[in-house]
Amino acid sequence: MTGDDRRPAAARAAGAARRPLHRRWWSPYLFLAPGLASVVLFGLWPFANTVVLSFTDARILTGGGFVGLDNYRRALGDPDFWTAAGNSVLYLLVVVPCLVLLPLALAVLVQARVPGIGFFRSAYYTPVIASAVVVGLVWQWVLRSDGLVNTVFLRLRIVSEPVPFLTDSTLLLVSAMLVTVWKGLGYYMVFYLAALGNVPASLHEAAALDGAGPVRRFVHVTVPQVKPMMLLVGTLSAVSALRVFTEVYILGGESGGPGGGARTLPFLIRQVGLGFAGETGYASAISLLLFLLTLAFSLLGRRLARGDEA
């Protein structure tokens, strides 16, 4: 679905470039005008503005003066920043391996052509089509102190008091990770289904003739064949792990857990930057640090992918 479609398209693009049609030079720009306007207004300009603001002490209601690197220095000495940055990176480190491996296992499970498999595939996809808010509410009702899990645990006497899944910062963060993974499983499963479809059956047959069981075939045939897709899924899920906001907000409430202990970077940016006392300058500096973190992880993913091709 993905890797396969791109090459012919690129080949055709090369063909199109070979014999260009005569057209007025400005007509493509007319066609692109709305798209370009949007990119300038809501892509390039906010980014440039974020960079500029990050060197000022601007507030939400007043423009600020140039303060050099003060905001960055402040961030490095701000325990709230370190908590949020630590939470975001921890989130990524936990969620990415889960979302690289579990959806692959799921894809292998639903790849078999057995009766009713279409139903299972669709059912596994339903958490993806639910909005983050709905998913948050659904899991809140499972994890609350009077929720499903705690009620069952209490009745079976596994615990004597409700587990504070949503009221303890660490557990809240773990619960949010669980929700992110749960919601991502079906999404990345579809990526892997596409990749698995491109693994030649002859490889599996050859390995089977050599006496390799299903586990060894998975490790030695399937995994190397879908490795590029694993890197893509790793990069995509890393970038979205750094963007987590809604899960924590819905599960833990406006403050982001007790004392804000479960806040992620986007959470902190919103709290610092907006509202009546919003410090847009400082929030812009944190925003830029978040951007650099995201960039670092996407470049890492790209480098791994390139090293893989070589």
Partner: protein
């Protein structure tokens, strides 16, 4: 019979493997749909029934859906969401198709540069520019308006790229034939290219609709007056309200927001899965 009959073991083993696979499929099914089903069942429970009295409600009722519509302006929220979604679908379909068409055609100056700039903006996570984006929207006087919710997503770069790859697949011979017939650029776009990219256009419409329906963080920043709330923001109020500490009502609200999406999904499944694949052109 000189040859021994095939031993029954492989067949039995295959049956056992199949049984194991179905057991695993069912176990995962419970994990993936159980929490949603639990919320759904809760939404059907009667006002006096204990929510933990058995798995199934003893007297299923739609009473909670009536109650949530009465105590919260759920219809108003839905109307607001649909307004944003209608704008988003229209603008994305039209502008992404136009932009993608231009990018897919060769032979104009600056094509590479424009393409590179568009792809580069995909690198900015929304969360890292949202404060500035809010200031831009405020500067335009669009805070607390549905237009302000819609405008930044009026045409997404990803959708332009999806349409571009769809148009790249249109053979140039067809375009040349249209030129020979005297068709101008706009006619070629609407009569030749658009019909050839219907599938991708459907994906663009669907993802724009879902994006508008599901978005939470940006409407949370832009909207202040609860009269303008979208459905997702309304759900947040519902969950946070102390007046309704009744999980049955919250569950009914969540289900009201989810069920239209589920219906859409089962009606248009192949476009959903196609959309996931095309989303991967991003990197």
């Amino acid at each position: 019979m000189t040859r021994p009959r095939p031993r029954p073991r492989p067949a039995a083993r295959r049956a056992a493997a199949l049984a194991a696979r179905y057991a695993l499929l069912l176990a995962v099914l419970v994990l993936m749909t159980g929490p949603l089903a639990w919320q759904f069942l809760t939404s059907l429970r009667g006002r006096t029934e204990n929510v933990y009295a058995g798995v199934l409600p003893s007297q299923p009722t739609l009473d909670n859906y009536v109650r949530v519509a009465e105590s919260f302006p759920l219809l108003q929220y839905t109307a607001n969401t649909l307004a944003v979604a209608a704008l988003a679908v229209t603008s994305n379909a039209v502008f992404a198709a136009m932009g993608g068409y231009a990018l897919s055609r060769a032979g104009w100056p600056g094509r590479r540069t424009v393409f590179t700039v568009l792809v580069a903006t995909l690198m900015f996570p929304f969360e890292s520019v949202m404060v500035s984006m809010f200031l831009t929207i405020r500067g335009m006087g669009l805070v607390d308006s549905l237009v302000g919710v819609w405008l930044p997503g009026a045409v997404s770069v990803l959708n332009i790229l999806i349409m571009r790859s769809a148009f790249l697949a249109v053979p140039q011979e067809i375009e040349e034939a249209a030129v020979l017939d005297g068709a101008g650029e706009w006619t070629r776009f609407t009569r030749v290219f658009l019909p050839a990219a219907k599938g991708s256009l459907a994906v663009v419409c669907l993802t724009s609709f879902m994006g508008a329906w599901d978005d939470f963080l940006w409407p949370l920043l832009v909207l202040t007056d609860s009269e303008h709330y979208t459905l997702q923001l309304g759900l947040k109020t519902l969950a946070g309200a102390t007046t309704t500490n009744d999980q049955r009502i919250i569950a009914a609200g969540a289900m009201a927001a989810l069920l239209p999406m589920v219906l859409l999904f089962f009606a248009l499944q192949r476009f959903f899965f196609k959309g996931v694949g095309e989303g991967a052109v991003k990197l």
